[in-house]
């Protein structure tokens, strides 16, 4: 039965001008009607007396008579209704988004072909594809061009292309390949030496070796960790109006290292959602729970704290559902999901899992911290011992003094002294003893010194690194369904549980908690996480996922372009024991990935959105990577991995935009040149150099960045002081690395930025610019001086450097420099 359901669930790819083949009712029409119409026109409800859940029922019609005239779509009420042109009928589906043109065309075609359907069809709704588990074995399709595929992925892609008679694109040239795969796996461009080495390597597996090197790079974790941090809504401040800074960078470090050591995705998941609940949880596992501490905290005066605590839990539910299940749970916060099989109650069952935590800061002493702590402890102990010895030596005097006191005198003493006197001698603490010694040795220098030493160390508190974590409460909170999502309106009590449409928790689970939720999420029986995760990885390599709506695998999502491939990848992910590196390796070594990204006139007509992947896609780099590339080519990059966030230069006035003006003490020295992902991120006043290139706002989970292309980006690359510093540095670098010959210098600068050699006309255009600049600086030497960097080397030729700075600016502003081809 399973295979049938699967076939039923395959949605047709919407590529225009496709098959002359007949419409397949079970494969194409039934899923369409199921998604759009069954809610009101099937077994449970028959609005207007109409059922559409079998072909026979549809042909029967309803109160208004026939809705289908076989062979005549133009006369069929069904078509008129979905187009919104039926008399006395609102547009169907009622109050839902209209069917797109392709779906309407498909319905028309089916009716025009006679509206046929199998005679033995049963009136059951079709389980939406995403909730159907992948088949145990997904057959790899065979292809005619047997030489093209490099691995199984290519069979799926090529089989589909062959069906449409489309040829795949040739492999990209080697320079493009090394640049592409370096940017994709590490977020850094290859050096000239790395390019040369790869070009020289004639071994058959040269490319595979390259991939291995990159997967082993410490920067791999930064690149792929950054994608994950988008989903985690990582930021360095609390958000809302006060937006105070917070310390949670240890969580970022944890993510980077988890990627670098290729932590299996199931473990990775469990530690982040419930690391604190693991048996004998390690420090690392506790740090990992920072994932859900990245919610905002409202510190505004006059708030109802419970309201914002609830909002943070709501955010955690939505983030969990979006990140692992690819579902838009948010709708069910206020009412049953209109389109997907998620009840409001089920929303609050998930809520209940995440409603039982304390939110402490965890101290994490670093190695130097530990050392300082140890020194302090030793110093304290020695001071304490000295003081104790002194106190002991004074014991006799103290006891004499105590005996000498008359009852009247005792009555006059301060209460704290009296308390000590009432304590038996051998029960007195050091502090208590000191109270008495104070009475008789007040003026003694030796005592004063020893006591102040002791007090000083006792008070010293080390400023230890902390990170925000989750910690389960011993007494769970009572959770309720909130009527219409309003936390003041309690509905029924709910207990932790999982949506019915997905596999149940293991039967033996009693009082399920977060750890059970985490384990359930990555249970191989759960059909969603492997698909959702593989789809997102795929999306980073091809700009679009196999399911384009990567955050909506529900019925309103776009449906997979290559359903079998998605299932195959999900299966393979599990077979590889959730190793992300294994899956990266598989994708980047495929022929599909290695294709050229050049536009093709034939594809502009056949597949304008490149859904079938007869070529690679060319797209702009992510915000942080734009910075990283420019830092690298200018020779400034500090490639240290991890650590606290830093403060590279930002334009004046940025920090005044929020309610509280936060300090931005620009980092000096190497910290100024860290990768973009380490820039301190204030939510109310986010770094403009990142935001302008579409970095996420970090106020809610972001699983896909949009890519815009705006004049503000141009202004940033052209004029921002930070980017100008890169241009000056690139000019210095080129002049230093190529002592003679301007054309050779142009070639060098060009290769630093774009990896490839310039074409002759490109070289000439830059040469023209250089010559005109050199010439104009002859007559305007003061302009050249103004363009000089702060750290101008002693013997620098100012005019030459200025002219080269202009050339460098051009190169750093090229579309190709900030694009991965």
């Amino acid at each position: 039965m399973n295979w049938l359901v699967r076939i039923l669930s395959l949605m047709a790819l919407t590529v225009p001008a496709l098959s002359a083949e007949q419409v397949n009712y079970l494969k194409e029409i039934k899923p369409l009607l199921s998604g759009a119409c069954y809610q009101c026109h099937s077994e449970t409800q028959q609005k207007g007396g109409l059922r559409l859940d079998t072909g026979a029922n549809a042909r029967k019609g309803g109160e208004k008579g026939a809705v289908i005239v076989p062979g005549r779509s133009d006369e069929s009420l069904l078509i008129k209704a979905v187009m919104g042109v039926a008399k006395d009928l609102p547009r169907m589906p009622y109050k839902k988004s209209p069917l797109d043109d392709e779906k309407v065309a498909l319905l028309k075609k089916w009716i025009d072909e006679g509206a046929k359907s199998p005679a033995n069809e049963k009136a059951e709704s079709v389980l939406h594809w995403a909730f159907v588990p992948s088949p145990a074995v997904v057959p790899v399709p065979s292809v005619k061009q047997t030489k093209w595929p490099r691995n199984d992925i290519d069979h799926f892609i090529l089989a589909r292309l062959e069906k449409q008679h489309i040829k795949p694109s040739p492999e990209a040239d080697r320079v493009t390949l090394i640049r592409r795969v370096s940017l994709d796996l590490t977020g850094l461009p290859p050096s000239i030496a790395e390019v040369d080495e790869f070009l020289k390597d004639k071994r058959a597996d040269a490319y595979d070796r390259l991939v291995e090197r990159l997967l082993g790079s410490k920067h791999y974790g930064e690149r792929w960790g950054r994608h994950w941090l988008d989903a985690a809504r990582y930021a360095d401040s609390n958000g809302y109006s006060i937006d105070a800074p917070r310390q949670i960078w240890k969580y970022r470090d944890w993510v980077i290292h988890a990627f670098n050591r290729d932590m299996p995705f199931d473990e990775f998941t469990i530690d982040q959602l419930a690391g604190d609940l693991r048996p004998n949880a390690t420090l690392e596992q506790k740090v990992a729970t920072g994932f859900h501490r990245n919610t905002q905290i409202n510190q505004e005066g006059g708030i109802d704290k419970e309201q914002f605590r609830v909002e943070s839990i709501v955010d955690r539910v939505n983030t969990t559902a979006g990140t692992w299940l690819g579902l838009t749970m948010g709708c069910a916060q206020c009412h049953d999901h209109k389109f997907d099989p998620i009840a409001q109650k089920e929303y609050y069952q998930l809520f209940a899992f995440l409603n039982n935590q304390e939110e402490p800061d965890l101290e994490i002493p670093s190695a130097p911290d530990l050392q300082r702590q140890e020194t302090l402890r030793k110093e304290f102990t020695s001071a304490e011992n000295e003081l104790k010895a002194y106190v002991d030596s004074a014991a006799g005097d103290v006891s004499m003094w105590q005996k000498s006191l008359s009852p009247e005198q005792v009555a006059k003493l301060k209460p704290e002294i009296k308390t000590v006197l009432e304590t038996p001698f051998d029960k007195r603490t050091l502090k208590q003893k000191l109270v008495l010694v104070d009475q008789i040795r007040k003026g003694n220098e030796d005592y004063k010194r020893k006591k102040s030493q002791f007090t000083k160390f006792e008070k010293t508190k080390l400023d230890l690194t902390t990170t925000m974590v989750l910690q389960e409460r011993s007494e769970p909170r009572q959770s309720y369904l909130f009527i219409k999502g309003d936390f003041t309106r309690h509905g029924d009590i709910v207990t932790p549980g999982v949506p019915k449409i997905l596999p149940p928790l293991p039967a033996e689970t009693k009082n399920p908690n977060r750890l059970d939720l985490a384990k359930w999420l990555v249970d191989p029986k759960n059909p969603l996480p492997a698909r959702v995760t593989m789809n997102r990885i795929w999306m980073q390599y091809f700009a679009k996922g196999i399911v384009e709506t990567e955050n909506d695998f529900g019925t309103q999502g776009s449906g997979p372009s290559h359903p079998e491939l998605l299932d195959w990848l999900a299966n393979e992910f599990l077979r590889q024991k959730w190793s992300q590196k294994a899956m990266h390796r598989l994708i980047v070594t495929s022929a599909t990935y290695r294709q050229s990204s050049r536009a093709r006139p034939d594809l502009n007509i056949l597949d304008p959105y490149n859904k079938l992947l007869a070529r690679q896609n060319r797209f702009r780099l992510d915000a942080e990577v734009v910075r990283d590339v420019e830092l690298t080519v200018s020779g400034l990059l500090n490639d240290e991995v991890g650590g606290p966030s830093v403060f590279p230069p930002i334009p004046d006035g940025v920090m005044t935009l929020g309610q509280s003006k936060r300090e931005w003490k620009t980092s000096e020295g190497p910290a100024r040149y860290r990768r973009g992902m380490y820039t301190f991120f204030y939510r109310a006043t986010p770094p403009p150099g990142l935001m302008v290139f579409d970095a996420p706002e970090t106020t809610s989970t972001c699983t896909r960045r949009l890519r815009s292309n705006t004049p503000l980006q141009s202004l940033t690359l052209l004029n921002d002081a930070g980017f100008m510093e890169f241009a000056q540095s690139l000019a210095l670098r080129v002049l230093k690395e190529v002592p003679e010959n301007d054309n050779a210098r142009i070639d060098h600068a060009f290769r630093l930025c774009l990896s490839r050699e310039p074409k002759r006309d490109e070289q000439q255009r830059l040469r023209e610019l250089l010559d005109s600049q050199l010439k104009s600086y002859d007559s305007q030497p003061e302009e050249a001086k103004a363009l000089s960097p702060k750290n101008l080397p002693a013997h620098a030729n100012v005019k030459q450097l200025a002219a080269w700075t202009t050339v460098s600016r051009v190169l750093l502003n090229l579309d190709e420099t900030i694009t991965r081809e």
Partner: protein, 489 residues
């Protein structure tokens, strides 16, 4: 700052450079690339660089009454009871406890203090008088605004859902107190683009002691492309971040740089066929134009002294008054949506936020400029296609707060906004509140209704201005919003 080089000459120069460049690079390209290149040249032959711009103006769903919007956002929540909504009964009952029936089922900010310290009714100490033909009540704190009541529509019955500053601002701007939704300005420029070719379509200005709470999320594009997010225009220093060329780069040199970038980008466009490069070339041209148009915008030397006096502008000082004039200049130059934030209207009582001196100060800061803006727009005929909106994220309670000095708490059930200009009835007072000013008794105008109406005036049907995200068609008005017909002319 840049001044544009001699246009005629530089165009000619550019043209010849481009011909030369392409004369050479045509060699060796395949026939497809050549064809594309030729069409490229044809495209460029008439006018320099006619390229795609996602902000190009486009028609809405039906003919618009309003072309542009100036939104005067009174950040912090101004007290309607000290300014517009006159309640003699409240004055009479000053100091009396509020009847329980008013509080039942309501939630307020700082509610945790209520049990210990039940709030008492607070009558305004301000004198009110009726003004204009409409007879609208305006307090003594707004003498200039009193003079324009016949040009505006006062709405006393505005209502919102959330009572803390940051979420309420978000709600007023995006129609949701959840993060990640686009702001109104983003929706509008997404819907109909902007007329301006050399200034941003959605501009944000701010004045007052601090930025609005929540910061950038108030003018964010949410799930819409960032092209549509608000661009802050700064009161001091550079009006737009990174607007000036770097130190030591003259206007000419900047042009030469951009020309070289364009030529090399164009070549890559031919090579790869990627249309995004065309957009990028266009973005660089717009950036270059902004470098001269934005300084021209903020240079007020072409304005007469009379105009500056009308607004009450002090030379060289950033202020709400200056921003109002800049708003007019932006709209004149085609910017679609201009939003001015002025802080601080938060009047709880206590140092710096009492309803006495602090409140008088902030009312003085905005009163004259607001009235001047209306008069100025009117005399230039610009009020015929510009909508001006005045209001905060919520209002203030009829009860006082027990703090060091007089103040009021946040109130979401009724507060006053005003609207003026294109498509709006002039000289009316809309929406009655009860005798204590607690709730509307007629014509309640919820934020969603206000949004629906604003979009309607712009020629946009609020249920049809949608963007598909996470499998759902989102709109500014979520699933709500009724047009406020009584507001519209």
């Amino acid at each position: 700052m840049l001044s544009a080089p001699n246009d005629f000459q530089s165009d000619k120069l550019r043209e010849s450079t481009r011909r030369q460049f392409f004369g050479r690079c045509v060699m060796g390209l395949g026939s497809i690339a050549l064809a594309s290149l030729l069409s490229e040249q044809k495209l460029f032959a008439a006018e320099p660089v006619k390229l795609v711009n996602p902000l190009d103006p486009r028609p809405g769903h039906f003919p618009a009454k309003v072309k542009n919007i100036i939104y005067l956002f009174m950040a912090g929540g101004p007290s309607q009871l000290e300014l517009f909504d006159y309640k003699p009964k409240l004055v009479e009952l000053n100091g009396k406890p509020i009847p329980d029936s008013y509080l039942k089922g309501k939630r307020f900010a700082f509610m945790d203090t209520f049990a210990k310290d039940p709030p008492k009714l607070l009558g305004t100490r301000r004198k009110f008088a009726q003004h204009g033909n409409s007879g609208a009540w305006v307090s003594e704190l707004f003498p200039h605004t009193a003079g324009i009541v016949d040009d505006i529509s006062l709405v006393h019955s505005c209502a919102t859902d959330v009572f803390n500053h940051a979420p309420a601002k978000l709600f007023m701007n995006t129609g949701s107190s959840q993060f990640g939704r686009p702001s109104m300005g983003a929706w509008v420029t997404y819907g109909i683009g902007s007329e301006s070719k050399d200034l941003p379509g959605f501009v944000v200005l701010q004045s007052g002691p601090r930025g609005p709470r929540g910061g950038a999320v108030n003018w964010a594009s949410g799930f819409l492309p960032t092209t549509y997010q608000g661009v802050p225009l700064r009161g001091q220093g550079e009006p737009i971040l990174n607007l000036s060329s770097p130190q030591g780069v003259s206007a000419n040199r900047q042009r030469q740089t951009i020309d070289a970038i364009r030529d090399l980008n164009l070549k890559r466009l031919v090579e790869t066929g990627d249309e995004e490069i065309r957009t990028r070339i266009s973005a660089y041209e717009m950036a270059y134009r902004m470098q001269s148009s934005a300084p021209e915008l903020i240079d007020l030397s072409s304005e007469t002294q009379a105009t500056k006096d009308l607004y009450g502008i002090t030379e060289g000082e950033p202020s709400f008054a200056r921003n109002c004039l800049l708003a007019r200049r932006l709209v004149e130059r085609g910017s679609r949506f201009v939003q001015l934030y002025h802080t601080n209207w938060d009047s709880h009582g206590g140092p710096g936020e009492d309803l006495e001196k602090s409140f008088e100060k902030v009312t003085r800061e905005v009163d004259q400029p607001c009235a001047a803006l209306i008069k100025d727009l009117k005399q230039r005929g610009m009020l015929d296609d510009t909508l001006v909106i005045w209001g905060g994220e919520f209002g203030r309670t009829p009860m006082g707060e027990n703090r060091d000095s007089t103040g009021r708490n946040h109130h979401i059930d009724s507060f006053t906004m005003w609207f003026a200009g294109a498509g709006v009835k002039a000289g009316q007072v809309l929406g009655q509140t009860d005798e204590l000013g607690f709730s509307p008794v007629e014509d309640r105008c919820h934020v969603h209704d206000i949004h629906a109406t604003i979009l309607h005036l712009l020629g946009l049907e609020h249920t049809r201005l949608t963007f598909r995200f996470q499998g759902r068609d989102f709109r500014l008005t979520d699933v709500h919003g009724e047009l406020i017909h009584k507001l519209m002319a």
